[in-house]
Symmetry: D2
Subunit: 181 residues, 4 copies
Amino acid sequence: MASVRTPDPNPGWLSDIALEETRSRVPILYVEGIPVRVDGAGNVEHVGLLLRGSPTTGAMNRTFVSGRVMHGESVRDALMRNLEKDLGPTAFPQLPTSITPFTVAEYFPLPGVTPLHDPRQHAVALVYVVPVTGDCNPRQDALELTWMTPADAASDAVLGELEGGRGSLLRQALAHLGVLA
Amino acid sequence: MASVRTPDPNPGWLSDIALEETRSRVPILYVEGIPVRVDGAGNVEHVGLLLRGSPTTGAMNRTFVSGRVMHGESVRDALMRNLEKDLGPTAFPQLPTSITPFTVAEYFPLPGVTPLHDPRQHAVALVYVVPVTGDCNPRQDALELTWMTPADAASDAVLGELEGGRGSLLRQALAHLGVLA
Amino acid sequence: MASVRTPDPNPGWLSDIALEETRSRVPILYVEGIPVRVDGAGNVEHVGLLLRGSPTTGAMNRTFVSGRVMHGESVRDALMRNLEKDLGPTAFPQLPTSITPFTVAEYFPLPGVTPLHDPRQHAVALVYVVPVTGDCNPRQDALELTWMTPADAASDAVLGELEGGRGSLLRQALAHLGVLA
Amino acid sequence: MASVRTPDPNPGWLSDIALEETRSRVPILYVEGIPVRVDGAGNVEHVGLLLRGSPTTGAMNRTFVSGRVMHGESVRDALMRNLEKDLGPTAFPQLPTSITPFTVAEYFPLPGVTPLHDPRQHAVALVYVVPVTGDCNPRQDALELTWMTPADAASDAVLGELEGGRGSLLRQALAHLGVLA
């Protein structure tokens, strides 16, 4: 217990044990970013989806930029940090001027409560659409970022590949953008 | 540690020690509701503010309906539960059809990071405006609910009485409603 | 020309000729309301669609509550008036506290510019989701109001029956509400 | 009357007489853009206000980017065109990915109906906050574009200089952005 009051060399970082314990106690706050390419008038031309191998099953699936909001970190900084973590330092994301998300996504450990689920935890994500103008170089465990037209992204095949039921979230984003075919 | 995996007779409830520990680890997710009275066409006529004695200083101050989202609880259920906790069972709140909040409020333990602060914790609140049509009977530690016109609520005197810097949040709500004088 | 400066016994009303001429000059501002039934916690249980015979083709199709904003009329009053016109005086609609629409719908005379079109005119509609709590008695030219679950409303059969391409708009509304299956 | 059916060399353009007549018949649809400068994380650092001489009184006042949506023109194209008209061709505005405005502004010819008024007409404006990254060179009748911090822009002196009561609209924008002091 004492350690949490000592200045932390990695603020916000939690040991696996502390994180697992925390996940059993409270919903965990996340930010998610859906990268898009826009034309000069702001029309969405492409949506970016990350391809990733599941750490548990090894299966390949698609997902958004996603990560926890750390203790002491602002929502905006968390979104910026996770965009850089997943897209690399030269993506040049254009963050929204308001931190009101376009939707709130609720993930429960048990499938079926909502279309979304996360076996590890109860998570609540603030979800944003983020235009990126630079080069994206996925880092860490993401294999690649695939750019798709809204019509291709809305296909049943792609929606079914999205992790944790995020196909419904992607359709919600495309509808919000006015590009759900 | 074993207890967190045993079925919990009070799901979502945490001991004081567990809550304090959790608060040092992650941002805590809240919902806040600003009760309003509307006319037949949806125009906001009055805003409801709770008057409460501070548990730490004993001073009287004003606040909104507010409370944690429990582990396993949906955002909508948390909002409903906290409205009933603070306004009583006959308030008949009209919850929004979409759970996208009108704004996200960030409270840091250290004053000055944002206009909002909470000495107990880093909290992130999804904030909603909620019309209520019934009788409000504040329970628990709230002394009364005061209904004010938007113009009165936006006065410097009232804004300054709001707990944790929520005066800025109330102005944001009034602006969103189009009734900030 | 003189007549437009004389006090008008039917403010906002335009002769057929004046309306047709105006439609050729500027986009016409509309409001649209999608009636919904919600449970006590604000979850959308049913969506209401009007069944109407097309004045031009005689074919039956489905639509939302819809109408022009008159000269000198506020957006909120126009929404209220059109809800009463199409749902009757006992529908008791709960108008939103903010007049920001959940989306803006653009109808062009030429099909294919957007998913929406209106052969009569270029129209721009502010679109709202409106819970109704009373009895709906469609008046005028609407034959009936049909309540459907979100899943039924999102079926291809129903979406295809919506007038002017409003199937895409209904999907956008269901996505916004978080109930697009 | 015949002329409106002949192909128009200046689509959307109306003679002074036709425009005045139309303004007496229907609300006129506008778009308004509030230019902002943001930092790398999307935080608004400065707000841009245009300084303009009133064509009627000769007095100097401040305003936003503003203009009509033409017949046959999309809301997005109208916003882009008016940004270029008022800020010049090298402003490089970042248009929003969704055309849902952050608010709807209603201007009535008679002062006092809402905080906003326009002696020429009943106008309804879709209002957007638009980050600009390039050089702004106001054209036409605007004398200059002044960049101010949110705190300076929210001062009573500046708010009072805004044309048509737009001071209330600017406060609404700053509140929406979370930077209303």
